[in-house]
């Protein structure tokens, strides 16, 4: 088999796309995309959210059909009309969001995903072979809900490798991993590629692409804008090709020292039962944030961030003394009362949580600003005032939209995020709690959002920044703490903590320390 691969290597690329086009009502997702991946090559597909990466990959995996263009597999023209065809050809895919049954074991989950049933015992021995060959620590008999994100991802990788793929597609694989888990994943991927399997690696994290990939195709607005060697191109250059313009730096101004002493928010002994079956309970969380301070909370998604956000924003009340806003007991206060005390919050999920998708922008301003911005009087909504304020938020934060009457759902992730963040900032918060502010946001908007948070802190607001993005935390935060399994561990000035240390804490007891490689 290896010999066969060797022969093909010179003959034809593993997969080649010629002039692929695909449009959806109102947008052209892919426009004349031509690219190829050589056998054994790790090829990056980079681009911002909405650049057309997912659409392109869905066509490769047979989930969508191209409107025009041709796909070549080992030099032969092919039509991939279903994921089953793709798997038959030898295309494996690891999706960004895992499709696993929490209550079942690893083995059962893998067995369920197979096109043809394999006897349980033979399947288990094959899985153990793969785990051994690629040095993947994972126990096939363990129930999925006890596993970390990294371990869950390994299930998906094993599932793909069982079919002996010749092309493995990885869709944003590192978004839920700790730095150590990422390191381990890269080793696995290199090992896989050495055996002749091509890897198409989809990401918008450019440092990773530089470290891992042999070549990269850059997409912007559905079109291929460049092909390059990421090892020889700077991350900044890559980013600029991605967004099509120059990238600005975030400037973090120091807060005037005189303002820094006043404690704005303090949390003590915050414990909370999980809100859902697979939620995370909070245990004895304690911290305090001063005026002008950005308090960063790192952690992998699902370690209690949602519960912590709900407790801080007031969506889930707790005992009065547990949360103090400017010295006032506020644990039992509603979100509206907390806003009146100066605590504004901005959740991770924009559509359906931070904003009502089918409401207009000005109605979404009324959602949280109705008291703080005096948008109602005698029970009536002051529409003109709400529209005027919305217009101000739109122009101040450079929100690209048709106007205050645009529905929230019509905005891109980045623009909606700029609007909802602007909405909170317009209320002059004394404390701002913000979760994953740049999640799914394009690079240009991310800079705007981060700059706005930095400016707000400089103006004296105390900020709690819950983020999975370590780079973001190290860029913005004054103090960093890590949340793992609902516990807040080890906090210290951002300047003194190392990425490795944070990474280990993020993995905590949930990940497995055995994976940690000595630096």
């Amino acid at each position: 088999m290896a010999g066969q691969k060797q022969k093909k290597k010179d003959a034809a690329p593993r997969i080649a796309l010629k002039g692929i086009c695909r449009s959806f009502p109102g947008i052209v997702a892919n426009d004349d995309v031509t690219m190829s991946v050589a056998p054994g090559e790790i090829h990056a597909l980079v681009g911002e959210n909405g650049a057309g990466k997912s659409t392109l990959v869905k066509m490769l995996y047979g989930v969508l059909k191209p409107d025009a263009g041709q796909i070549y597999w080992d030099g032969e023209p092919v039509t991939i009309d279903s994921p089953k065809t793709a798997r038959y050809l030898g295309i494996g895919m690891v999706f960004q969001h895992f499709s696993l049954f929490e209550a079942m074991t690893v083995l059962e989950n893998i067995a369920l995903g197979l096109d043809e049933p394999v006897p349980r015992r033979r399947l288990e021995s094959r899985i153990r072979d793969i785990l051994h060959t690629y040095n993947l620590p994972l126990d096939p008999r363990r129930a999925v809900h006890t596993l970390s994100a990294g371990e869950r991802q390994r299930i998906e990788i094993v599932r793909a490798l069982l079919l002996r793929p010749k092309l493995l597609i990885m869709d944003e694989p590192t978004s839920v991993l700790t730095p150590q888990e990422i390191e381990h994943l890269f080793k696995t991927l290199r090992r896989i590629s050495e055996e002749g399997c091509s890897i198409l690696y989809i990401s918008h994290k450019l440092e990773e692409v530089k470290r891992l990939c042999d070549s990269a195709t850059i997409l912007r607005a559905g079109r291929k804008v460049a092909k390059c060697n990421p090892g020889k191109t700077s991350a900044r250059k890559l980013a600029e090709m991605m967004i099509g313009s120059e990238l600005k730096d975030v400037a973090r101004q120091a807060t005037a020292p005189s303002r820094k002493r006043e404690v704005r928010l303090s949390v003590e002994g915050l414990s909370l039962a999980p809100s859902s079956l697979f939620g995370t309970p909070l245990a004895e969380i304690a911290f305090s944030v001063q005026a002008g301070e950005i308090f960063g909370i790192a952690g992998i998604a699902g370690n209690g961030q949602n519960e912590l956000f709900a407790a801080l924003s007031g969506e889930r009340p707790c005992a009065p003394g547990v949360i103090r806003i400017g010295g006032i007991s506020a644990g039992d206060k509603s979100p509206s009362s907390r806003r009146a005390l100066g605590l504004c919050a901005l959740p991770e999920e924009r559509n359906g949580h931070a904003a009502v998708p089918s409401f207009t922008l000005w109605e979404n301003l009324v959602l949280t600003g109705r008291r703080t911005l005096a948008l109602t009087s005698a029970g009536l909504i002051r529409r003109r005032r709400a529209r005027r304020f919305s217009g101000e938020v739109i122009s101040r934060f450079d929100v690209r939209t048709t106007g205050v009457d645009a529905e929230a759902s019509s905005l891109s992730g980045g623009n909606l995020q700029k609007f909802v963040l602007g909405r909170e900032i317009a209320q002059n918060p004394r404390i701002l709690v913000v979760a994953q502010p740049t999640w799914g946001v394009d690079a240009g908007a991310a800079v705007t959002v981060r700059q706005a948070i930095a400016d707000l802190a400089a103006a004296g607001t105390a900020i709690v920044l819950i983020s999975q993005d370590l780079d973001e935390l190290l860029l913005l935060a004054d103090t960093v703490a890590v949340i793992n399994q609902g516990r807040l561990t080890e906090m210290g000035p951002a300047a003194t903590v190392s990425v490795e240390r944070i990474g280990m804490l993020m993995g905590g007891i949930h990940g497995e320390p055995a994976v940690v490689t000595p630096a």
Binding site: E349, H353, V356, P357, S358, I381, R383
Partner: protein, 356 residues
């Protein structure tokens, strides 16, 4: 050739507003066929049901009187439906309101110094609210589905009506007929257009629709209801309490249904009889959806349903169309409306087969 339903980029405003018209037209066409299958002249029947009440000025007062209770009830329901609170037991609250209001009239029995009417109406509202309070309590306290509770309480209200009209409240001078005594003039809704049956409840229904439009579109309470219905998570984040919206929805719809009930008892009926519940509470659900849960649209929706009821009565006497056929008619309207609604956010495309 392949026909596919694909999502629209933006919901179609045109279909949103003309959907109800399409639904009524489709009902007329299919209705013609259904009546023909029953061995009746279908065209004639549909013409009698839909056109006769509109073309004959003699019937207009009937339309107003039939539309008013449905309009009042539907306005209350619409608020709750937008907030995902599904009160489908307005019929029970309507009966409960009539019972409470009638109770005041029978208890006072002419002994009150002024007109007993305002007190009767107040009691009617409270009666409807009380009937809706139980589902509200069960839902907010124990997460019991309000759809089942409101519906089942309707049958309790009907049994209560039977008991009262046949037992304690039966008119002593009524030759043993199961009915209360007739209301005195002071206890009845005044006629506002002399020489017709149009009572005070008809113009008041229009005023209620206008007020409800303002409440739903322009006030914080209306905003809260819409937010809870569209994005409960965002509503919580925005500081709206779901339980409060549930209570408000049920109190509003129950209260308005109760008011409609006492209006009807103190208006066209003039007394309570076991046949008091004629289904306005259920028809109002169709009215609310025909009117797009918008009080101004509901005015038109109530008119359409009133036409079908008045026309149905004519068809019944003139053509021998069974009463149940009118119910089928109204149900068809709702079903066609729901079907048309698919095309508000989707559209049909005719795709040529790629292999052809």
């Amino acid at each position: 050739m392949k026909i596919a339903i694909v999502p629209r980029l933006k919901p179609s405003r045109l279909i949103f507003w003309f959907g109800p018209v399409l639904a009524v037209l489709a009902t007329m066409i299919v209705g013609t066929l259904v009546f023909a299958a029953l061995g009746i002249n279908g065209l004639k029947a549909v013409e009698t049901i839909f056109l006769e009440p509109v073309l004959n000025p003699q019937r207009w007062q009937d339309l107003g009187v039939k539309a008013a209770p449905m309009l009042i009830i539907a306005c209350g329901l619409a608020y709750g439906f937008r907030a995902n609170v599904w009160n489908i037991g307005a019929e029970g609250q309507y009966i409960a309101g009539a019972i409470a209001g009638t109770g005041v009239a029978l208890l006072a029995d002419g002994s009150l110094p002024g007109s007993p009417l305002p007190l009767m109406c107040f009691a009617g509202v409270l009666g409807g609210m009380a009937w809706a309070a139980l589902p509200a309590l069960l839902r907010t306290r124990f997460r019991v589905n309000e759809i089942l509770v409101t519906l089942m309480l309707t049958y309790v209200a009907i049994q209560l009506l039977f008991y009262l009209t046949r037992g304690p409240w039966r008119d002593p001078n009524g030759f043993n007929f199961p009915q209360t005594r007739l209301f005195e003039a002071a206890e009845s809704l005044p006629i506002v257009v002399p020489g017709t049956v149009i009572h005070l409840g008809v113009p008041l229904a229009l005023v209620i629709a206008l007020v409800m439009w303002i409440v739903m579109q322009r006030t914080t309470v209306g905003f809260a209801g819409r937010t809870v219905g569209l994005a409960p998570h965002a509503a919580l984040y925005g500081g709206f309490r779901n339980d409060r919206v549930v209570w408000f929805s049920l109190m509003l719809s129950g209260g308005l249904a109760g008011l409609a009930g006492i209006f009807e008892a103190a208006g066209p009926f003039g007394q309570l009889t076991p046949q008091f519940g004629v289904g306005y509470g259920f028809a109002a659900i169709i009215v609310a959806f025909l009117g797009r849960l918008n009080p101004l649209g509901i005015v038109l929706g109530a008119l359409v349903l009133a036409i079908s009821i008045v026309g149905g009565e004519i068809a019944q006497t003139r053509l021998g169309v069974p009463n149940a056929a009118i119910g089928v008619f109204q149900a068809m309207m709702l079903f066609f409306l729901l079907a048309v609604d698919v095309f508000v956010s989707n559209r049909l495309v005719f795709e040529r087969d790629e292999n052809a």
